[in-house]
Amino acid sequence: MKISHDEIRHVAKLARLELSSAEIESMAGQLDGILGYVDKLSEIETEGVKPTTHALSIYNAFREDIVTESLPREEALKNGPLQNGEAFVVPKVI
């Protein structure tokens, strides 16, 4: 196994996912397959090859510091599951 159940629990927690033991079991199998597949890459000789962070070789895509219009507040809040017309409302977090 490339990934332990503990690691799956940890990743699930970071992603705010609640998994049953059955789900952990099935995730373990699936993630193991994925990791094994990606592991193939380590067979390639990469000594002296610069890391690729982007598929394109472009750089310096900039915009000028000019203000554009923001969304009307109504629009901005529209997709929030809970809002009061002024702000998004969430369970108390402190």
């Binding site: 970071l14 962070t53 900039f62 554009t68 002024e86 702000a87 977090v93």
Partner: protein, 477 residues
């Protein structure tokens, strides 16, 4: 047991751009909640962030001003965690390739100069603001501040006392404001500081367990929070207990630090390069253009004040900490050439009477630099005494009137007319025959009494030197 204090600071400075870091929403402060957002800063799926060039330019300036090496290629990374003030579920920041590293600034503490290392400067986006309901278990999210550009400036753990930490912080603050890339307002949160602090027995190489302090929104709070935390850690260590690594919040009302629940268990941020943002490549030309645009920085200005104007290090430091005060000083110097006397007046009279804020607000002062120069020139010429000048100055601070107008209006010119003074001198002698006798018997100490009487009669307007001479002359007749 004696402990060595080890402090490192992280400063977050909001950059003074017009727009956010990756979209055109305005960065202006104080607007109605959620009125400055767009699909990009709201973190809608499928949007494309585009970097504000001014952010890079400002960061390069800060890097140059703090003697950093600029990474010719640098990139943004995603720092992943969930918190309601972070709509995307990650903060765009820099990780393994920040824009600048390995810098330093010089600080002055107790007349000693010390170099403090800068580990790195990186660009990132700010999070939104949370307002917590007093009664109900709810928090309100305002995303206006989301994606406002920040630079984080991380120091080496080179600071050895709260005083050094505050001096370093003031230096960074001063440089940012001289560069005009951050307004430095700590109350509004445009200049924030976190501190890492640990203690270790003198001579020990390994660092002790550190705690991280947050929520110190003034220089004074930084000092007090660090002092508190030093005492707390020292007590624990002396009791043989251990310092637990934690993030602590400073409570300025109760003067204590309290533990904060961790944002993310074990700080597992899973950084990775942001695929939406292409790398930034900075060439020599860009760096040289930025270098050429740098203003005179506080350290250079201080040096110039010392070398060209002959000011003591202390004066030069106080006058140059805020650009505005240094500008004021130099403007006044155009009309009055005694730099040291001018410096004394600004550091004592002006700063004491000025109620409009700190030295950075001095432009709002009712006494213009030219007016202060005019007042001091009147003292230099003997038109008014130094003592009267202080009264005139208070009046100027209140009314905003010119020095000469006040002196004329209130008839405060020093009496330097011999004829007038001789008459008063003779009156005083006639009224006090006993003291005259004493003086003639050799008790010259009564001279003080005579001059005092004269000052009383003239309401302090007599030229004291002339008064002395006249009494001397009249009494020995």
């Amino acid at each position: 047991m004696e402990f060595e204090i080890v402090i490192g600071l992280e400063v977050h400075a909001q950059l003074k751009t017009n727009t956010k870091i990756f979209c055109g929403c305005t960065t202006s402060f104080g607007a109605a909640p959620n009125s400055h957002t767009c699909p990009v800063c709201l973190g809608m799926p499928g949007v494309l962030p585009v970097l504000n060039k001014q952010v890079v330019d400002y960061s390069i300036r800060m890097a140059l001003a703090t003697n950093c090496e600029i990474n010719r290629t640098n990139q943004f990374a995603r720092k992943n965690y969930f918190y309601p003030d972070l709509p995307k579920g990650y903060q765009v920041s820099q990780f393994d390739l920040p824009i600048a590293e390995h810098g330093w600034v010089k600080i002055e503490v107790e007349d000693e100069s010390k170099k403090i290392g800068l580990t790195r400067i990186h660009m990132e986006e700010d999070a939104g603001k949370l307002v917590h309901d007093e009664r109900e278990p709810k928090s309100y999210v305002d995303l206006n501040r989301t994606a406002v550009p920040l630079i984080e400036i991380v120091s080496e753990p080179d600071l050895r006392s709260p005083e050094e930490a505050v001096a370093y912080l003031k230096k960074i603050h001063s440089i940012l404001r001289y560069l005009d890339i951050c307004d430095g307002n700590m109350q509004e949160g445009s200049f924030r500081c976190d501190a890492n602090i640990s203690l270790r027995p003198h001579g020990q190489k390994e660092l002790g367990t550190r705690t991280e302090l947050k929520n110190m929104n003034s220089f004074r709070n930084v000092q007090r929070a660090l002092e508190y935390e030093i005492r707390r850690q020292r007590d624990l260590l002396l009791e043989g207990e251990e310092v637990v690594q934690a993030t602590l919040l400073w409570d300025p009302d109760r003067n204590v630090t309290s533990s904060m629940r961790s944002k993310e268990e074990a700080h597992d941020y899973r950084y990775f390069p942001d695929p939406d943002l292409v790398p930034i490549v900075i060439d020599e030309e860009w760096i040289e253009t930025a270098r050429a645009s740098l203003p005179e920085l506080p350290g250079q200005r201080k040096q110039r004040f010392m070398e060209e104007l002959g000011l003591p290090a202390y004066d030069a430091e106080v006058l140059t900490a805020a650009k505005e005060l240094a500008d004021y000083f130099e403007a006044a110097l155009l009309g009055y050439d005694n730099a040291k006397k001018l410096s004394n007046w600004i550091m004592t009279e002006l700063m004491r009477e000025f109620k409009g804020g700190g030295p950075e607000d001095i432009a709002a002062c009712k006494v213009s630099p030219a007016n202060l120069a005019a007042l001091l020139t009147m003292v230099q010429k003997g038109t008014i005494s130094g003592k009267i000048a202080k009264t005139v100055f208070s009046d100027m601070m209140e009314s905003g009137k010119e020095a000469e107008a006040i002196v004329k209006e209130k008839n405060l010119s020093q009496m330097s007319d011999e004829g007038d003074l001789v008459r008063i001198v003779q009156e005083i002698m006639a009224d006090n025959p006993e003291q005259v006798e004493q003086f003639r018997d050799g008790k010259t100490k009564v001279m003080g009494f005579f001059v005092g009487q004269l000052m009383k009669k003239t309401k302090g307007q007599a030229n004291p030197q002339m008064a002395n001479e006249l009494f001397q002359k009249e009494l020995t007749k």
